[in-house]
Symmetry: C2
Subunit: 136 residues, 2 copies
C-alpha cells in the first residue's frame, strides 16, 4: 500500500472529508507510519520543519477522522488517547512500562459467551486490551 500525500486526498474524499492541506498532512502522518499516535505525536510529526498546523486543528481533525470512521480511538493510558489508522477489527497489546502499543490480529481470537445487551442498545465496539509488563 502506498500512502503518499496524493493518495491521502482520495482517501479523505472517500470518507466524505474535504481534503485540505492540514488534513492531508495529518492523515499522511498517521497512515504512512501505520502506528498508534497520540494527538501530541501527530502534532510533532506534522510540525517538524516549521510550525504549520495549530493544536486546535490537530484535535478537530482527529475528532473528524474518528467520526467519519477513518481512524479508531484506543484508550489504554489514562493520560492520552491514541489514534489507530487500522480500522479493521483487531485487538491491542499494551506494554505498561514502555507505553508501547501494538495490534493483535482479530482473526484467531474468539470471544464467546457475552451476555445480551440491555434493551435498545447497540454495540459500538468491543475493545480487548492485553496489558503486559516486562518480567521482573
Amino acid at each position: 500500500m502506498n500512502y503518499t500525500r496524493d493518495n491521502m486526498a482520495g482517501l479523505l474524499r472517500g470518507h466524505e472529508i474535504n481534503p485540505t492541506h492540514q488534513r492531508i498532512e495529518i492523515a499522511h502522518a498517521l497512515f504512512s507510519r501505520q502506528e498508534h499516535l497520540s494527538a501530541d505525536q501527530v502534532m510533532a510529526a506534522v510540525n517538524t520543519r516549521h510550525s504549520e498546523t495549530s493544536k486546535a486543528t490537530v484535535y478537530n481533525t482527529l475528532k473528524l477522522f474518528l467520526e467519519k470512521g477513518l481512524v479508531r480511538e484506543v484508550i489504554v493510558d489514562p493520560s492520552k488517547v491514541f489514534y489507530d489508522p487500522n480500522t479493521t477489527p483487531h485487538h491491542h497489546l499494551y506494554e505498561v512500562d514502555s507505553g508501547k502499543l501494538s495490534d493483535i490480529d482479530a482473526g484467531s481470537v474468539q470471544i464467546s459467551g457475552l451476555p445480551p445487551l440491555p434493551d435498545g442498545m447497540v454495540t459500538e465496539g468491543i475493545d480487548l486490551i492485553v496489558r503486559v509488563r516486562r518480567q521482573p
Copy 2:
C-alpha cells in the same frame, strides 16, 4: 456483605494498608456503593458534610489501594479513570452516551486464540470493554 466503616479497617489491614481515618472513609465510599467511581466522585462522596479529605490524599490513597490490589483501575473514558472495588476477574459494559459503567461477569465469557506473549513479558491483565450506545 457488610461494608461498615469498622469492617473497612480490617479490610485495609488485610491488604497491608495502615487504616487511617481518611483511608477508611475512602474505602467505605467505594465498597459500600459497590460502584465504579472516579477520583472526583470519591472526593465528593467523602466530603459531603464539610471538607474532610484533601485532593492529594484522595489521589494518593486511590493509587495506594491500586498497588495493594484492593481496587482495580478501569480505563474507558479518556477524561477520567474509574476505580472498581470488584477485583474478581470480570469485564465491563460502557454506555458511551450516559457514561454508565457496569460489570460483565467473567464466568460465561470465553476468550481464546490469543497469540503468545513477547519474550520476557507477563500478563498484567486482560481488559474487555463492550462499548454500547442507545439505539438512534
